[in-house]
């Protein structure tokens, strides 16, 4: 959903043309999801579907409160519920709002072979430009959080845009706007980190010794962060990876091998050209021609 201006694009998939550099000082933005304040009401899910005009099918109950059961092309955010038995016999019901983390170093963008199908804006939002999407699904492989989903209807990949259209005109994302307990906050990344640390201090005072802000550095930090009661065990929050990283193949392809591959490709072309100059075009002799015609 291209709603910020092209001037805001700082990274573009499968493109070697330099991105515009005219704009300076665009503040990095972030959404902070305070799991300790979240009551799992799913208002954010509904707000997301309504703002983005996404209509999911009425599904089934599969023995849990998570509905729809998974992210999809029409479900860009989802509450995931985890029951955790505490060592003292008590129970915790950890409820995490799942969706795109908007990585500073986005694996999806790196993996994407379609020019301009994934962009990163100066404010940190990673957006899918759906008209350019070729439906290869590489972004899914490239995502360390297993977020993008392919649509069966149009074979394009979809995910949370952080409401880039709202943000572009100075509004907060729809989920932030609707959250009744202010468990989702939005602002500059610096402000969110500062507020997050304040909440962490409070949680530690209330007995959560391992509280912390989830802003994984393996992907360069994220523009969607969590305040976790147990930052030492992110995996307790239904599959939140402890140390997310861009898949090694994607890293290899885009990081190390791509220039070499490009060089190799260039060398082959050069070789072919030299062959033409030195030996002329390969000619097919008459016998072969005749043979083919038999």
């Amino acid at each position: 959903m291209a709603t910020l201006q092209s001037l805001d694009v700082v990274e573009r998939s499968a493109t070697t043309v330099p991105t515009p550099q005219a704009r300076d000082g665009v503040p990095k933005l972030a959404k902070l999801i305070d799991v300790a304040k979240c009551i799992g009401c799913k208002a954010c899910q509904v707000a997301c579907s309504q703002w983005n005009d996404l209509s999911e099918e009425v599904g089934q109950n599969v023995g849990v409160y998570d509905n729809p059961a998974d992210l999809s092309a029409n479900t860009w955010t989802l509450m995931r519920f985890a029951e955790q038995q505490r060592a003292d016999g008590g129970l915790e019901w950890l409820i995490r709002k799942d969706g795109c983390m908007h990585c500073e170093d986005p694996g999806c963008l790196k993996a994407c072979p379609a020019p301009g199908a994934i962009v990163k804006y100066a404010n940190g939002i990673v957006d899918f430009i759906s008209e350019n999407c070729i439906g290869c699904g590489y972004c899914i492989k490239g995502c360390p959080f297993d977020v993008p989903r392919l649509s069966e209807r149009d074979n394009k990949a979809y995910k949370c845009s952080l409401c880039s259209d709202r943000v572009a005109v100075g509004l907060e994302p729809a989920c932030v706007k609707t959250c009744p307990t202010s468990a989702i906050k939005f602002g500059t990344k610096d402000d969110m980190l500062e507020y997050g640390e304040k909440r962490v201090t409070q949680l530690k005072e209330r007995g959560f010794q391992n509280a912390g802000v989830y802003d994984p550095q393996g992907v360069g930090g994220t523009h969607v962060m969590y305040v976790l009661q147990h930052a030492d065990k992110p995996e307790n929050y239904v599959g939140l990876p402890a140390e997310p990283q861009i898949a090694s193949m994607v890293g290899f392809w885009k990081g190390l091998s791509k220039p070499w591959a490009a060089a190799l490709l260039g060398l082959s072309v050069l070789g072919a050209f030299l062959h033409y100059v030195t030996h002329g075009p390969n000619e097919v002799d008459e016998d072969h021609k005749n043979g083919e015609e038999v």
């Binding site: 009551i39 109950n61 849990v64 019901w93 009744p180 307990t181």
Partner: protein
């Protein structure tokens, strides 16, 4: 709510019990998160299930369904034995010092005055001792064995932690932890709020559940204070409004109790509702009842209502028996009703024992359903397979469906749980032929009126004389209706001392109930709302967000009843000298000559503290009642009784008295007693409840809601699932003695086995939202399972505690 939504942020301890604020009131719950973040408040949740409220709580304790009085009675005992009460408050602001009649008694679970045949009490012994001056006798030392304090102490001394744990299944140390957190607010500098809802009301002991909590809050000195109170969270944006206006069958707008058959004499009727003070110098504000009543009659009958005809008292219905919802459907089931108007109500889904309700509806000649949606009730005759297995051919009831607008398509007022009325504008026009409820009612009235005018009939003039001054008689505007319930001056009111001096000009709006008169010179459709549309205009439409005190009163945001008072009983926020208990949370204070402060004083403005006018001005004593003289049908003190369907064969407090197993004063209709299931056949304790994703039975018609919670399910704990061989996501059949539900099983750690009287008790949780209309997947009506018995005082059905069996299918 005695307090209001925003005020929750002022609490030090937030108790959520008998409700599930985070799931059922997520928007209001923001004030709990504010209290936690900004006041370091502690959130305590007591519930049979580990709910989404518990998920963000500091402390959670499980409890068996239907045992809240045992738990709370245990808290009272803990507070009294550990001296954790607010002494100055209790001595001065409650009836702890009052002496009770010598013949009041409590014997093995039964209070004095019980008539077993009628299942009701003669409450005459539940009274004070009176001195020769006509006032109640008191003992300031609270040592007299007949004083309320000593009786209270004796009554609850049986509720030891061991007994409480045995009944409730709450592990003893967890009970004690909660008791300790509650009791920590007995000091003047700490306050607790309690948020409850249908988890307390929907029991055969519902009113007493709430009353026990009110007693705790009185003992802690938390009533009337910012961050305190007893707070009912209402289920819909305007449920408070409809209750204030006329929801209850035994009262008229503003909680004015309707006359009963014996009250044919108008003056006697008024006198009984305007009690004289029971202690010297008290206000006894209900003494103004005749002003409110006569003004109501003027609003309804205009110039026809005069002092000479007792303001049309003759035309007012006099109750011969109950007309509550259970009574209504009992009568329908008995074939004693011809027609039924069903407005904004889906009884087939919402009333207990759906089968009985359906059979009742089938005996009607006609049914009129006024609703924006195609409800189950409007299609009770339709065979929906297992979800509504009826034979349409055998049902002759004629059903009329009158499509109404929904709230967003109407202009008018909303009154929220905190009694704050807000004016709102229609966001769009209702679709198709849908009309607003007021247009439908006005159309019906005009049609009936014409028929009565033409054909006459029994008491025709009670209908043909109704004052109907609206510009378009078939379409009273919201503004016209609001001005009517807010009240106006009928004719000039002059000063008694100087008749030439006009105090109130005829035709103007009144500015408050203080201006209402009993002589017919004022009219007011609801005294509590008097002045909401004042001479200054529509106060409900005010949108001023200034909050000078920072305590969240927002005095010019909308308007609260009564008199824009945001916290009821706020006189009790200050000590006997009028100094706030906690100056950081001032409600009102005495400045030497009058009461002032951020809130509107709940006290005569110039009543000096030394005069000892009590803070509870609606009571003839002026103090809060730890011992209830009236109002409660089942006892002046709360007592634990088992739900009518309980896993226990006897009440552990009264093992040898079968009459005290269940509430002795709860009404049971003939035939329903036999329908109560027994634990040998139905071994599991069940409860019904709501989920965040849905609102009652409406939102299953909304696609977005259906997506986030699509299909009916029940919840069971892991140990019960293992015992019954049920895996997560299996289909299970849940049966009670009245019906069954087949649904998906959610197997969860959040429901756990409790040990009750030494034996294991499992719970089965049953969300209510599904049915056979709407866009969510069809499901069974949860109320196929629930029993047809109500609270002894309020008759609210016992949806929250019953017995089931279940098996995998």
């Amino acid at each position: 709510m005695t307090n209001h939504w925003v005020d929750i942020k002022n609490a030090d301890v937030v108790l959520v019990m008998g409700g599930n604020a985070a799931e059922c009131h997520p928007c209001g719950f923001k004030w709990v998160t504010e209290a936690i973040e900004h006041r370091n408040a502690k959130l305590v949740v007591v519930d049979p299930r580990f709910t989404r409220s518990a998920a963000v709580a500091d402390y959670y304790a499980p409890i068996r369904v239907g045992t809240d009085i045992a738990f709370l009675g245990g808290v009272i005992n803990y507070m009294l034995t550990n001296d954790k009460i607010h002494h100055e408050y209790v001595r001065n602001f409650t009836n702890a010092t009052y002496l009770v009649r010598e013949d009041f008694a409590f014997d093995d679970g039964i209070f004095s005055g019980y008539d077993a045949d009628k299942r009701s009490y003669d409450r005459s012994t539940w009274n004070y001792q009176f001195g020769s001056d006509g006032y109640v006798m008191v003992d300031e030392t609270m040592t007299d064995p007949r004083c309320v304090y000593q009786l209270l102490k004796g009554h609850f001394s049986r509720y030891t932690p061991e007994v409480v744990s045995g009944i409730t299944g709450t592990p003893k140390e967890q009970f004690l932890k909660v008791a300790e957190m509650i009791a920590s607010t007995a000091t003047a500098d700490r306050v607790m709020t309690i948020l409850y809802a249908l988890g307390w009301t929907q029991h055969s002991t519902g009113s007493q559940n709430i009353r026990t909590m009110a007693m705790i809050q009185l003992l802690l000195g938390n009533i009337g204070r910012a961050g305190g109170g007893v707070n009912a969270l209402r289920g819909h944006a305007n449920v408070q409004g409809i209750t204030d206006m006329n929801l209850l069958t035994a009262s008229l707008p503003g909680y004015m109790r309707l006359a009963n058959d014996a009250e044919q004499d108008f003056q006697g009727f008024l006198d009984k509702r305007s009690p004289k003070p029971l202690r010297p110098g008290q206000i006894s504000y209900w003494k103004n009842f005749p002003k409110f009543w006569n003004s109501l009659m003027k609003a309804w009958y205009g110039s026809v209502a005069t002092p000479e005809n007792s303001f049309c008292y003759e035309w007012m219905p006099k109750l011969d028996k109950g007309y509550d919802v259970l009574h209504m459907f009992e009568r329908m089931y008995q074939g004693q009703m011809n027609g039924f108007f069903c407005q904004g109500f889906n009884p087939l889904a919402a009333v207990s024992n759906a089968k009985k309700v359906g059979l009742g509806l089938a005996k009607l000649k006609y049914l009129v359903v006024i609703d924006p949606l195609a409800t189950e009730t409007s299609e009770f005759w339709r065979n929906a397979g297992p979800y509504n297995n009826v034979d349409p051919k055998s049902i002759q009831t004629e059903v009329f469906r009158l499509p109404s607008s929904c709230f967003a398509e109407e202009t008018g007022s909303f009154t929220n749980s905190g009694r704050v009325a807000n004016w709102h504008l229609a966001a769009g026009a209702p679709p198709g032929e849908a009309k607003t409820d007021s247009d439908i009612m006005a159309g019906l009235h005009m049609a009936l009126r014409r028929l009565y005018e033409k054909e006459g009939g029994v008491l025709a003039e009670a209908v043909t004389s109704v004052y109907w001054p609206y510009g378009d008689p078939t379409k009273p505007s919201p503004e016209e209706l609001a001005k009517e319930f807010s009240g106006y001056v009928v004719r000039d009111v002059t000063d008694a001392a100087d008749p030439t001096k006009v105090l109130l000009k005829g035709g103007q709006q009144v500015s408050g109930f203080g201006q209402l008169r009993d002589d017919g010179s004022t009219a007011c459709g609801n005294w509590l709302y008097a002045g909401h549309w004042s001479p200054e205009g529509n106060l409900m439409a005010r949108r001023d967000v200034s909050d000078p005190s920072g305590l969240g009163y927002y005095p010019n945001w909308g308007v609260a009843w009564p008199a824009n008072r945001r916290i009821l009983y706020n006189r009790a926020s200050a000590d006997t000298n009028g100094k706030p208990w906690d100056s950081s949370r001032t409600g009102i204070l005495w400045n030497g000559s009058r009461w002032t402060g951020p809130d509107v004083p709940d006290m005569a403005p110039t009543a000096a503290p030394e005069n000892g006018v009590g803070p509870f001005i609606m009571q003839p004593e002026g103090v809060g009642r730890l011992f209830a003289l009236s109002g409660m049908a089942d006892g002046p003190f709360p007592e634990h009784y088992e739900p009518f369907e309980s896993p226990l064969a006897a009440n552990p407090l009264h093992p040898d008295n079968p009459a005290a197993r269940n509430s002795p004063a709860a009404r049971v209709f003939k035939g329903d007693m036999e329908q109560f299931g027994k634990a040998d056949e139905f071994p599991y304790a069940a409860t019904t409840y709501r989920l965040t994703e849905h609102h009652h039975f409406w939102t299953k018609h909304s696609h977005a809601n259906a997506v986030v919670q699509p299909e009916q399910f029940i919840e069971i704990g892991e140990d019960l699932a293992q015992e019954k061989g049920i895996a997560n996501g299996d289909m299970v059949k849940v049966r009670s003695n009245r019906g069954e539900v087949t649904a998906k099983a959610v197997v969860t750690k959040r429901m756990r086995k409790l040990t009750v009287e030494g034996k294991p008790v499992h719970h089965v949780g049953i969300p209510i939202h599904w049915g056979f209309t709407g866009v969510a997947r069809n499901g069974y009506l949860a109320n196929a399972l629930t029993p047809f018995v109500g609270d002894a005082s309020a008759q609210t059905p016992e949806f929250k505690a019953f017995l089931v069996d279940l098996e995998r299918v």
